[in-house]
Each structure stands twice: as C-alpha cells, then as structure tokens.
C-alpha cells in the first residue's frame, strides 16, 4: 500500500512540476512585486467623447458611449485564485468606477469572473450579463444577474447588448469545462449609433467573426485579446495570437481595435511585453497604424470618437 501511495504522489508531483502548468506555477511563485500605476484617472467621464475606452488591465475595460458606461470582465483583485499575482495594479481604482449601465462577463475563468471584484462595484451597476450556465455558479449580489444565450439581446435605456459567438471553453475549476459547454461568449454593445465588440477570450474563429459582422456590419471598435500566445500548441484551441487578433479585426470589419488580455497576469510562457511587441510587428507588416489600433497602457484612456 505504501508503494502505491508513493506512486500516486510521484505521478501527481510530476504532472505539477513539468510541462506548461508547472512552468506557469513556477513563474507565478517567482513573480515580481505588483507594479503601481502612476497618475491614475479619478474621474473617467469624458465630456468630449462619444466613444472612449480606459484599459484597467487584462480584459477589464471601461467603455464610455456618450453618456453611459459599460465595464467588461471586472477584475480588480491582487491575485487570481490565490495563486497568480497581479503584475500591474488596476489602472482604475474600483472606487472611481462611475455608475454603470451594465457589466458584462465573458466566462467563468478566474481572470474574467472575480467574485471579490464584483463585490467592489456591487452598488455601481444594476445588471451583470453572463453567458448561459454562469448564474448557477455565482453567489448572490445586489445587482441582477442575467444570462444571455448566443445572439440574444438585452435592451434598456437605448443600450442594447447582444451575446455573440466566440471560441473558448466554459467552466471555472477545470473539470467543469465538460459540464459547462455554453458558458462563454463575446458581446456587442450598441448605443446611439455606436457599436463595440468585446471578444472576452477567444481563439481564432473566422466563422464566428464573420457571422458577427453580418449582424453588426458597422462596428466602431473591437476589443480583442492578443495573449496568451505561448505555448501555441496548448493555447490555440482557446486563445488568439496577435496575428490572429488582427485577422479577427479584419473579419469583424471594425473601425478601430484596442487589444486586451496581456501583461497583467502570468498565464502563459509569454514574457511581459512580448504580445504587444508581436502585435506591433504584425501591424507594421500589414500597414496598420495607431489610427486604427490603440495599444493602451494600464489606466490609459483614449477618446476614439470625439463629440
């Protein structure tokens, strides 16, 4: 019996210590202290903007469309799942998040659905939109939690949010990926003639991007992930690479792109800065300039369409 125990322990230890999961764990354990963000914006409301974005970090983006705000995948915590430390602090303090029309959550992974972060903004939003299957995996909050299936829309006060297809996986804890087959999505927000695509987390999924373009042919902005990229064989099923993000941008036909989902947490073999650097190389090769693609720094806000 003692021999079998030893074998089980050895197998478990081997799985944890080698391969990509082992490397990611090691890098997280050796992560540097969280870098602070200087001169963070205290009042993100821009009177001169029809459309502006403020990149908080990772997939958390504050989108202003005229007089209303939508926040994507809010994560303000210092770690993910108590293991993965934040490399750079949030670019916007949760206390300075303005009153929101809605929060959207793309899926249940720890870097996109943070229960503690939702606590921090609980009184700032009346509504959190989630994909199917997620509500039954969330604690109770003061706000309404509403599930949106593919192509379903929520409409209120002129804002329409539609769930659009992406290619990713559901679940939160690993094996529940097998149970939660529909628990991931992208979104399109429409308001006053503006339309913003939020890809959440997605692999390169041309059919999904084309189908979205057919329904939303005039996207003002696409928020697309560009990382994690490496190891590519492991990531390609669920994550788009920088080149793929530009391909997706082209397929979506959006006017502008703001890349997200990079350099905030360690969840890949990519060195910090590698994904935006690769994106810049790809932009140069395709003749795309900063007028079409805005690579924002943490806490940076950019007015994409002025009044």
């Amino acid at each position: 019996m003692r021999l079998s125990h030893a074998l089980v322990l050895a197998l478990g230890g081997s799985l944890l210590s080698c391969g990509f999961p082992g490397r990611a764990l090691s890098r997280n354990l050796a992560a540097p202290p969280t870098r602070s963000v200087a001169n963070k914006i205290r009042d993100p409301r821009r009177a001169d903007a029809r459309l502006s974005v403020l990149w908080v970090g990772h997939a958390t983006v504050l989108v202003q469309m005229d007089d209303l705000f939508v926040l994507t995948d809010p994560v303000f915590t210092h770690t993910l799942g108590q293991i993965s430390p934040r490399l750079v602090e949030p670019g916007l303090d949760p206390a300075n998040v303005p009153a929101l029309a809605a929060v959207v959550v793309s899926h249940m992974h720890f870097d996109h659905l943070s229960f503690a972060s939702l606590d921090m903004i609980e009184q700032k939003t009346p509504l959190v939109l989630v994909p199917p299957g997620v509500r039954a995996n969330m604690p109770r909050y003061a706000f309404e939690i509403r599930e949106l299936g593919r192509w379903a829309s929520y409409e209120a006060h002129g804002l329409r949010v539609t769930a659009v297809p992406v290619q990713h996986v559901g679940g939160r804890y690993g094996i529940d990926e097998a149970f939660e087959t529909r628990a991931f999505t992208g979104y399109v927000f429409e308001y006053h003639g503006l339309s913003v695509y939020f890809g959440g987390d997605t692999a390169y999924a041309p059919a999904a991007f084309r189908a979205t373009r057919q329904r939303f042919p005039n996207l003002s902005l696409a928020l697309l992930p560009i990382c994690p990229n490496l190891p590519r064989g492991y990531m390609q099923r669920t994550h788009v690479a920088p080149a793929g993000a530009l391909d997706a941008f082209a397929l979506l036909g959006a006017q502008q792109l703001v890349p997200i989902h990079f350099d905030t947490f360690i969840n890949s073999d990519d060195a910090p800065g590698a994904c935006p650097a690769e994106l810049r190389r790809q932009m140069q090769a395709r003749g795309l300039g900063n007028d079409r693609v805005s690579i924002l720094d943490f806490g940076q806000q950019r007015v994409l369409i002025a009044k």
């Binding site: 995996n137 969330m138 604690p139 094996i175 097998a178 149970f179 529909r182 999904a208």
Partner: protein, 195 residues
C-alpha cells in the same frame, strides 16, 4: 484527369454543381458560427466520478496511538443559500455552491490503517454539514460545522466535526471527533475535494 466532355456527358454533374453553388451562396448570406460543443453526459459523469475518487488523507489519533487512513466523500443532496440560482444540487456540486453557504448531506466511506499493531478497518459515515463563507464568498476561506452517524465493524455512534477550507474548497482541514469510537477518537483530515 477528367475533361470537360466527361462532365458534359454526365447529366447529374451540372445539377450537383448548381446545387453546390446555390448552397455556397446561401452560406455566404447566412454565415453561422459553429454551434457550441454538446454536453457529453458520459464524459461529464466520468470526470465527476474520477473527481470523487480523490481521497483525503486522515490522521487518526486515539488515546494511545496514531495512525493514518483515507476518506472519500460524496454529496447526494445540498441546499445552497449563498448561490444566485439552483439552490438544490444533487451529487454534482460546484465549489461556490458549497462554500458560499450551504447545508449538505454527505456520505463518507473511510479506511483507517497504519496504526502500530492495528488492523486495517473500514467505516461508513452519513452526516449533515453546514458551510459558511468567511472571505470572498467562501472561495478564499470558509468554515463548516457538522454532525454524523457512523457504522464500523461491531460499533456505531455519533460524531461532530469542524472544518476550514481554502482554494475554492479544494484544500481544507477537517477535525472529526467521535468520543465513543475506540481507536478513532479524533480524525484530522486534510480534505482534498474537487466537486
């Protein structure tokens, strides 16, 4: 290689070609993303079943000895008062449903060994346990209090337990006290639980 004449000589081919063009055209007008992957009950049940097989190591302490063992646990019924939807769960219980606040009926087979001069033995336990969140809806820290009825060879009785859990309940420490159970008066369990 086939020639144009060969195509012309087959009257079915132009029709097939026309149909292909028609459907290709239709597809171009109604591009659709692939549907989400379908739930495979077999895969889901297998993965859940394997998760239930993960044992939690026991440290068994009695008046005059220390031993080891393993505990498994299954939850036939749980009522969660901390979750936003579907408070009643049968067998398949997500960690947040349990640790955000819940009451569960649990069944636990236990196997004790390794005490000096002691024989291996099995014990079956059924009980109720209350989970309450402490930090971040219980994902970071939660605690539990419970009571159970056990049956072992030649004996049965009641036990009480206290627990503390972290990492979404994957890791925890549970102490079970069975005052009348000879050789297993106190069992400290490093709980490893995944669904």
């Amino acid at each position: 290689m086939r020639t144009a004449h060969e195509f012309d000589s087959n009257p079915g081919l132009p029709i097939a070609f026309g149909l292909a063009l028609f459907f290709a055209g239709s597809a171009a007008h109604a591009e659709e993303a692939p549907p989400p992957r379908r739930l495979s009950l077999l895969v889901a049940a297998t993965e859940w079943g394997l998760a239930q097989l993960i044992p939690s190591p026991l440290l068994v302490t009695g008046a005059s000895h220390v031993g080891g063992g393993l505990r498994w646990q299954v939850t036939p019924l749980l009522y969660s008062f901390g979750i936003a939807e579907r408070p009643v769960r049968l067998f398949l219980v997500s960690p947040i449903a349990r640790h955000s606040g819940s009451v569960e009926l649990h069944l636990s087979p236990e196997w004790a060994c390794c005490a000096p001069n002691a024989q291996q033995s099995w014990l079956a336990r059924a009980g109720l346990r209350l989970y309450l969140p402490l930090l971040e809806h219980g994902e970071v820290l939660s605690w539990s209090v419970g009571s159970s009825y056990y049956r072992a060879a030649g004996t049965d009785g009641l036990a009480g337990d206290l627990g503390l859990y972290t990492f979404s309940g994957v890791l925890g420490l549970n102490v079970t006290v069975s005052p009348t159970l000879t050789r297993r008066e106190v069992m400290s369990v490093l709980t490893l639980r995944y669904f």
